[in-house]
Amino acid sequence: MTEVEHRFGPYGGRYVPETLMPALVELEDAWIAARNDPAYGAELGILLRDFAGRPTPLYRAERINELTGGDLWLKREDLLHTGAHKINNALGQALLAIRMGKRRIIAETGAGQHGVATAVACARLGLECVVYMGAEDIRRQLPNVERMRLLGATVAPVESGAKTLKEAVSEAIRDWVATVETSHYIIGSAVGPAPFPAIVRDLQRVISDEARAQMLDRTGDLPKRVIACVGGGSNAIGGFAAFLDDAEVELIGVEAAGEGLDSGRHGAPLTAGGRPGILHGSLSAIMQDDEGQIAEAHSVSAGLDYPGSGPQHAWLRETGRATYVAVNDTDALAAFRRVSELEGIIPALETAHAFSWVMANPGERDLLILSGRGDKDLAEVIARTS
């Protein structure tokens, strides 16, 4: 494994301003070197274990199973430090930045989980941290904004467009264009120009490496299906990666149907099946109008409120290896409450989409990636449902 994918089928690539091209080459070289360096692996492994809390448990959702008649297992990324899978990527890339001699970190965030994870990694490793966040997301995920500030990060509000994740990524890229020689951009999902989608996938792969072994250990078998929510697609690709060669394991990504796929107000480019397009430096399934202007996404969950998708997901869809479905705001909100009541686990609103789907379509030996916990969503959920 020495090569880093630039394309997944036709998807991916590097559609960025020339100024960034040398940095992407440097990043790719640094990643190849880091991956092959036992010292990097050891340092990251210790941080993931002692600081972030890996391995995370595999947990059988007994009460949901009683209700649905299915057999659902949860991979508990919600139990990680900072409350979501995002820390796996943030720690790995922060260590990579240090190897490249870059001590200023840029990040974007939607739900705030990637921003908090990056702020935590930067505090722990003594790096400067600037997080771009849409003004609308600052409003709906305020606790995470306060956490980032407490950790010493600068939160830069983004006022353009719909003031959500898409705009935050764009602003982060613009910052990087101007500061590329001293800054590293820790992108928060499996999106962006190559080599980002491959790096984020490799760093999130720990989810499925652990879960695959845990399922074999606990059930004596592989799961029949792996289910994960898909915003940009990092927890899903991390949850799928170790199962890609297990042809009998079905892979299911759950996107946000927002106000409904027909309404056009959703965040489900893979499910809705639009034309391929370029967003944030790579070619993938995106939401766009007839002329190629990028559409605004809509979802109750800030982390799924994104009109693009990781290029590897576009390819997994096209080849039929993975299937993509979507769950609307109302059903996700209902699942948020139901899972809390039944299992004593408050899931992130993002993950609630995956729960909603699997509870409506229960199966034998399902593995759900519980990507994060929902404390950050309480105020928004209460405001919307009371």
Binding site: G13, E18, S160, R174, V177, G277, I278, G281, Q293, I294
Partner: protein
């Protein structure tokens, strides 16, 4: 005359020490006014005009051009209307279109190239289409005699600069600073070296852009040996704020033209 030839003619027949290359945004503030702005540029000393097509997610642009694009789109700007603007302007002065890759990809490289020919446009700049992603675009534009104008940046290493420079058509868009478009005070440090490095690596004229916002900066860029000077955000700011945008942009363009005599 092909597009490439018309661009070459603009540099050869330039009025000043360096070709004056104003940037304008199609359909900003509206279609008719933007045509008037383009014609005012032509009448006040522009040797070549860059017509930007409004895009929802302009990653290489700073706040002024980003905001103008947002406004234009809110007012109903389309690619079709933008190409009408380019057509009207190209009747008066050589033009190149500046357009983000997704809008071109959406139509297809070949059909887009045919539309450019139809509009009398001479070339295309895609700020998010680096060398590695450009072969299909280059083939489609070459087939029509149009120039695919590449960008190089201060961060571009020498070996890469040579690759880009050798494939450049029309001119080499030389970004003077690492950053997005936008006005900057003072002169870009090391502009002489930036121009020198670009010239050594390409057979086409070197035009410098990003951050040039005063006639003094334009003049010193020409002194550094640039064969073209691109003025962007400064003119968009004028178009955004003046009561009579075309007249105001024309006056500013004239100041720049004078500085290059």
């Amino acid at each position: 005359m092909t597009g490439c030839e018309r661009i070459a003619g603009a540099f050869e027949g330039r009025a000043g020490r360096a070709a004056l290359m104003p940037y304008m945004m199609a359909c900003f503030p509206d279609e008719q006014t933007s045509i008037a702005i383009g014609l005012a540029c032509a009448a006040n000393g522009a040797d070549l005009v860059e017509v930007g097509i409004p895009y929802s997610d302009p990653l290489a642009d700073g706040p002024v051009i980003h905001e103008a694009a947002t406004q234009a789109l809110r007012n109903g700007a389309t690619v079709t209307a933008s190409l009408r603007v380019a057509k009207a302007v190209s009747e008066a002065v050589p033009t190149v279109v500046m357009c983000y890759a997704n809008l071109v990809l959406s139509m297809g490289w070949e059909p887009f190239a045919a539309e450019l020919v139809e509009a009398g446009v001479s070339g295309l700049i895609c700020p998010d289409l680096p060398l590695e992603e450009a072969p299909e675009a280059l083939a489609a534009l070459d087939a029509h005699g149009l120039a695919l104008v590449p960008l190089v940046a201060p961060t571009t290493p020498d070996s890469r600069l040579a690759d880009i420079g050798s494939r450049a058509r029309g001119f080499l868009y030389t970004v003077s600073v690492a950053g997005t478009t936008g006005e900057r005070s003072g002169s870009a440090v090391g502009i002489d070296a930036v121009v020198e490095r670009a010239r050594a690596n390409t057979p086409v004229p070197v035009a410098v852009g990003f951050g040039i916002s005063t006639p003094e900066q334009a003049s010193s860029t020409a002194d550094a040996g640039a064969e073209g000077v691109i003025i962007g955000s400064r003119l968009i700011r004028e178009a955004a704020t003046a009561a009579d945008p075309a007249a105001a942009v024309g006056l500013v363009v004239k100041d720049f033209a004078d500085s290059l005599r």
